[in-house]
Symmetry: C2
Subunit: 653 residues, 2 copies
């Protein structure tokens, strides 16, 4: 169902590729039929909703109203355009700009809606800074008019310099983005040295200080709303768990508890795929004294315990060891394994990759270099074979062993340059940065969805307004027509001179590129990336203060834990193999052996999301006995009233 | 003494203006004599230091060693250059780049040194991100070489496109600053639409994500070190106060206390200029029960109490009321006063200023407009006269009443446009932003000093290396020589075409401008302005959670407090005058009258510095009884070990 809806949304949005002005033209009838089909699918989904939700709730939800209104508007627009098209009159298909409404308003796009809401909440604060900023630009423009307007200065193009207030405002606004620096200053600076002070002052105030203030406001608001959402979630969870406890509780002695059997059944219902050793582990954590029941504080912790990914590892021997133990355990074989496991082996290959990179940068025409390429390829294959010989294959290519898989891809990939990435992996500090970047991947995707929505609306409007204004005919710019981008009005313009003809609104793809270029030059986007900042603040504060959970402690206590570091580069396997074959030290081995090759491992801390971390930090501040506010209060939390109530909830940054 | 040293530092630094290549040429002998004089002054200061500090301490201080080495090096350089000059050989005066050493190393520039230290501490973290960033640029460059190198593409100038790896690295680096976007993309984009994806990916990763990571690292480090310094200060203060308490304490009953007389004498010694009503106020806060002695907890608070600026206000009648009470209290006069005090009066003048602004933007040649200017001027004079008539003059122009004084300046100032600033003042939200900007003024100055030091060194090096390469002869660009900036090598270059001739290293002032332009285009500076971010985070968090101090509570309790809001726009005076003349309400008046026109006011919270606020927040988390770590431990605090110890000390953002 969800997949189908997403499919129809994609189809609906991509229709713009086939409608006039089209990248791949299709007749009007075909695209309209496809659109009607999509609309029917959306309507069907809506009807389904209306059936499963109470009528009151359904009609109160603005999302549903939005979708319905958009469907109706699109149909009206289709009918009008269709009838006009029949008599060969071209009209504006304005309803196309409404298509992203479907993407935003279906319940599956909760993330995008949340981001939209958070932007809307930030707007009032932004607005004040923006007004002040515009005010400052205006005052500077007036000053510029008085200072430079009467001097008869000329720009490089020979036009009058700073004589019109609107031109000045525009030029000064562009100066904030530094796009026309220092050109905008040069005429005044050439006239008199002292005028440069005016521009320096302007840049300090408007480019540096105001842009920082923008960032501060955006980040501050983002953080406030993020924390509020997380607080809501944490209290909601607590609320639900207390309800559950009150249903399941029985009195033992003076206190209320949940019996072990009940607890087991609950856990099995909530997490049916949990393995029984994992469940035993959780029970041993919750029922510390093995009294046969779980008390309230420990019961409330159940969702956190279930949320922690515990990897159950079956440590196995290398297959070769089973097939031909004599050969694999021979001193020559052991020497090979020891070499492969050594740090220097990794370093040697890092150097090889670096040399390879230099070769790639050199001229490939040279026959010597293209031969060298084969040498490198065989070296990489040898490396992988050696590693397969040394490490247990399934552990080597196991989940989360991303970097190892990448090694195999190296050979297959045409982009051999990606091999260089391996050097990054070998430096610990780099890994922190890279894994944080990977963590914020989903957030970047959400943000990307948002940008897509905005671009789509503007692209549709741009195409209706500007299509065909620029015609791109000759990619080699040899015909005289290409020199004016097919439009005589562009003769001698900087646009044609710089060969910008392809920056046009003639189809959806070109429109997107133009909008992207405008975003880049204007640099506003940089100041909206508050989520990247937050992710890094959390990552850095985690580096300092290890948040150890009860489950991790227990695993270590029971001696069935394996440090995450041991897992990397297959060292765990190394370690365990070595011990099993009784050839390394024997300290602490006995405990492990009791479990017959069964090990637990907490999934890497580095792979936890920012949200999860913040939630954990916040929960550690709610006292275990605290019941929290009532459900209504929780749902109406506003970011504003958080500060006095929870002054300590700012630990994260 | 301090002033003299700063004078000599200024003279020494500004010598670069008069030395070859000079803005105002002076003979070599004159500048060398001035420099020797400065060096002697610095040496004298150093000798004085050596006398007042123990020898061990003096010689251990790297600052002193630095200054001495620099003096010696400068003298050597002077002698060499002087003797070469005598035989007319020009040599490089390299020691000039060392001059900022004096600015940094004298104890008076503690702030600049602290900033330098904090930058040095941030460097290792920055370095890792920078390496990763360079790595990413390199990988993308190699990919670009493979993708575009063999296609025979040409740039707009007809040069080969992306064929040389070094060119590619440079172009892609510039793309991060967005300075050559979209030009660098156009040849590939014109060739094939899909190549634009390469550039989009590059911009997302390197411009958006990496720049955010840079900012995150810089801000995180800044914050860490700021907090550490503040923690150090807070504990040091606590330590000293406990020592003081132990000296002064006497036993009363079961507890140790400081007697009132002792407390008074101490306060008088520490703050000799404190007024006696202020001292009484502090005593009433410290000795809550009026028992004649101050206990330990309250004693430890003494420095905080003394640090809070309390303004003692003598409420006076309007002079006119004394001179001619009948006229001033007549109903016509009261009506005028009421009108002037009314909100609408302010609004009317805001509108007048706006209309004035529009007139300024219009053509001034028009005789009607220049006459209107006189009309506006008289309106402003009338406003000031009316306000002087209504409000008590000394309060109106009193300290902190910055905005009122500005009003007077309006008329005098040639920059009449600054009048527009008054509109900002009338909106409360704008005030928060503006006052925060004013608060960070000192920090901006420190940062400016730092930038000056860096620019100075680079300017000196640049002048030695590039002086005379560009000759600027004709500001109107009419002579053929001007078209190549006086250097035939620049024929047909973009540099000459854009009339950049004045961007050169021919004198100190021009060098500074060039360096500034390079900074702006490269945009790195934006990402270093972490202190602006911090100031705004503190300002915004303050808006939410009012940090009320004991002293404020006491003032309110005693009924001698005046809200800061009442002070603004002279409303306080309004209020008080009105009450004194018995013409407004009478609630709570009696208490005030007992004090015979003496009122206290806490200096505006908005004017507190970020440092002071953070310190206050941190101190509120040290338990009153806590002795804190030992002195040695305090001095060796490192930012790293703060997190686990004081998890709550992150409230500020």
């Amino acid at each position: 169902m969800q997949v189908a809806i997403y499919f129809f949304i994609c189809v609906d949005l991509s229709l713009a590729l086939f409608e006039e002005p089209a990248l791949f033209p299709l007749p009007f009838l075909a695209t309209s039929l496809a659109e009607v089909l999509c609309l029917m699918a959306f309507f069907g989904r809506l009807v389904h909703f209306a059936k499963v939700t109470p009528q009151m709730v359904f009609w109160k939800d603005t999302k549903n109203i939005c979708i319905m209104v958009t469907i109706v508007l699109t149909l009206i627009d289709l009918i009008i355009c269709g009838s006009l098209e029949a008599v060969n009159i071209h009209s504006v298909r304005w309803s196309r700009a409404l298509r992203p409404v479907f993407l935003i308003n279906f319940p599956e796009s909760r993330q995008i809606r949340r981001t939209f809401r958070s932007i809307r909440n930030t707007l009032p604060d932004i607005l004040y800074v923006f007004l002040l900023f515009m005010f400052s630009v205006l005052i500077f423009s007036l000053m510029a008019l008085k200072l430079f307007g009467d001097r008869g200065l000329k720009t490089v193009e020979g036009l009058p310099y700073f004589t019109n207030i609107l031109d000045i405002v525009f030029e000064l606004y562009v100066l904030v983005t530094t796009a026309n620096s220092p050109d905008v200053m040069m005429p005044a600076y050439n006239f008199n040295w002292w005028y440069s002070l005016y521009f320096i002052t302007y840049i300090i105030i408007n480019t540096y200080i105001f842009m920082s203030v923008f960032l501060a406001v955006v980040y501050n608001n983002y953080r406030k709303h993020l924390k509020n959402e997380i607080r809501k979630l944490a209290y909601l969870k607590r609320h639900k768990m207390i309800e559950a406890f009150n249903i399941l509780k029985v009195q033992v002695g003076t206190e209320f508890v949940v019996m072990e059997a009940q607890w087991r059944r609950l856990a099995k219902v909530v997490a049916p795929h949990i393995s029984s050793p994992h469940l035993e582990l959780l029970l041993r954590i919750s029922d510390e004294g093995q009294k046969g029941h779980v008390d309230k504080v420990n019961f409330l912790r159940l969702p956190d315990l279930l949320n922690i990914q515990v990897v159950t590892i079956n440590v196995k021997r290398h297959p070769l060891e089973d097939w031909m133990p004599r050969v694999y355990q021979s001193s020559a074989s052991l020497l090979v394994q020891r070499i492969v496991r050594h740090r220097i082996f990794v370093w040697v290959y890092d150097v090889i990759i670096l040399i390879n990179a230099i070769f790639i940068a050199l001229d490939e025409k040279n026959p010597f270099i293209s031969h060298a390429e084969w040498l490198f390829l065989s070296l990489y294959i040898i490396e992988i074979l050696l590693k397969l010989y040394t490490y247990e294959p399934r552990a080597y290519f196991g989940r989360k062993q991303f970097w190892n898989c990448q090694q195999i891809l190296d050979i297959v990939l045409i982009l051999r340059i990606l091999r260089l990435l391996r050097i990054i992996v070998s430096i610990q500090r780099f890994r922190v940065i890279v894994t944080t970047l990977i963590n914020i991947g989903p957030t970047i995707l959400t943000f990307g969805g948002l940008v897509l929505v905005v671009y789509y609306v503007f692209a549709i409007i741009g195409m209706e307004a500007f299509r065909g204004k620029v015609r791109f005919s000759d990619p080699n710019f040899t015909s005289p027509d290409a020199l004016v981008c097919g439009n005589p009005a562009l003769k001698d313009s900087a646009f044609a001179r710089d060969r910008y003809c392809k920056n046009n609104f003639n189809d959806l793809a070109s429109s997107f590129i133009v909008l992207m270029e405008l975003t880049v030059v204007n640099q506003w986007l940089t100041h909206s990336l508050a989520f990247i900042l937050e992710a890094f603040f959390v990552a850095y504060s985690l580096e300092k203060s290890e948040v150890e959970t009860a489950i991790e402690k227990k695993i270590q206590e029971l001696g069935v834990g394996i440090q995450e570091e041991e897992m990397q580069d297959g060292k765990l396997i190394d370690n365990v193999d070595a011990k099993d074959s009784g050839f390394s030290g024997d300290d602490g081995d006995n405990k492990r052996k009791d479990l017959k090759g069964l090990y637990f491992r907490i999934a890497s801390k580095k792979y936890r999301t920012v949200d999860a971390l913040l939630q954990q930090m916040f929960e550690s501040e709610i006292a275990p006995e605290e019941e929290g506010p009532s459900l209504d209060e929780i749902l109406n939390f506003s970011p504003g009233d958080m500060y006095p109530k929870n002054p300590n909830f700012e630990n994260s940054a």
